[in-house]
Amino acid sequence: MSMLELKAVSKVYGQGAAQVRALDQVTLSVDEGAMVAVMGPSGSGKSTLLTIAGTLEEPSGGQVLVGDADLAGLSRKEKARLRRRTIGYVFQDYNLLPGLTAAENVSLPLELDGWSARKARASGLAALEELGLADRAERFPDQLSGGERQRVAIARAMVGQRQLLLADEPSGALDSGNAEGVMRLLHEACKNGGMAAVVVTHDAQLASWADRVVFLRDGRVTDQTALEPGPESLLTPGRPQ
């Protein structure tokens, strides 16, 4: 089932001569359990695509569906609920609240959604444990390494019953070992947790963790890759026995 669907989505900023077409008739579908990377140079519309999919901005044209909800038909309140319950965000600079511990940061969205503090904390701790951060739960963001901070941010994006994960250059500030760890976690969240993810990046190594890579240029989807089943074939062609 498709978890995110963009149908001929356009986004125009400004008017007349100053008009900028950030997205132009973008159509994209991301199924449950799939991770899609969106690659493109700066200014290609990657971040706009993510903010529209995340209901943070309205498209100028076209249709956006998250699960089976058509965003155009939702009130502000309903959109806010969708953001709290269904959509998780991961940003390049983590966006953790400095005055809260890792556990508090992760359970905050649940508390905001009306969960009891105790239940929210239990779920938050479980999410941290799943990402190998059980022993970091009581630390504040500035007591964590960059890789740990991003894992806390991923835990926060996955906690509860989130179904759609939106990530903007999620490992942009990390070294290659930590970046690989973050991408591995995101891909596992899709493969094993059934989440759908859209990862926006200009980095081909990160994009290569995705099941599909979509190329964006001047606001338009120009191309995409498809991963053939059985990639192990790379190790076998013409292999002498």
């Binding site: 690659m39 140079p41 591995r184 891909h187 200009h202 980095d203 081909a204 190594q205 994009a207 290569s208 963790w209 995705a210 890579v213 190329f215 240029r217 120009t222 191309d223 995409q224 890759t225 498809a226 991963l227 053939e228 990639p231 192990e232 074939s233 790379l234 190790l235 013409g238 292999r239 002498p240 026995q241």
Partner: protein, 199 residues
């Protein structure tokens, strides 16, 4: 990949048979570079001729064990520290294709770049999947796959940079729009010869 020196490295651990060398070569290189047994024996013969290995002389064919000599060890140690030749740029086929596409009438160089970018990213996806599925406990494989990913990544980054540079150059009027009618004295053949003569 220097099979010669890889075999010397394996023999520095002790005497070994040809088949054994092939198996160990493949497992130590993460099975990324397949090697046939004929290659192993040809290489061993040359190493023996050069005095870098010696056989005990008792067995025949697969029964023959080889060991490294003192000058073989010296050769191996020298090779480890010898930088590979990276000083002169290779005659890169992809670079040539892009250079040719800029001037070829009726060809959109950005489209050509994207064809290659897609192919490379797709290859990177396949390598990443191998790393994800199999390389966890296989250090050699993880290292070999990383090397391949970084290599392909550098090509993608060059394509990205070329894409951006060409876009800026077109904006400055430095290059003509692609879809020009082909003329009898189009500049392409000259351009091609010049590129071909390089490197």
């Amino acid at each position: 990949m220097s099979v010669r020196h890889a075999l010397l490295a394996l023999l520095s651990e002790g005497p070994k048979y040809g088949l054994q060398l092939r198996e160990e070569f493949e497992s130590r290189t993460g099975e990324v570079w397949p090697l046939n047994v004929g290659q192993v024996y040809t290489t061993l013969q040359r190493l023996e001729r050069d005095g870098f290995v010696e056989s005990d002389g008792t067995g025949e064919g697969p029964q023959k064990a080889f060991q490294i000599t003192e000058s073989g060890s010296a050769e191996l140690s020298e090779w480890l520290r010898l930088p590979p030749d990276l000083s002169s740029p290779p005659r890169d086929e992809l670079v040539m294709k892009v250079l040719v596409a800029i001037r070829l009438p009726g060809v959109d160089v950005h489209e050509v770049i994207q064809v290659h970018r897609r192919y490379l990213v797709q290859l990177m996806q396949e390598w990443t999947r191998i790393k994800e599925n199999g390389a966890e406990g296989d250090l050699s494989l993880a290292l070999a796959v990383d090397a391949e990913l970084f290599r392909l990544d550098s090509v993608v980054r060059w394509l990205d940079a070329a894409d951006g540079r060409l876009k800026r150059a077109a904006g400055d009027g430095q290059i003509q729009p692609a879809a020009e009618p082909r003329e009898a004295e189009a500049p392409l053949p000259k351009q091609r010869r010049r590129i071909g003569a390089r490197g």
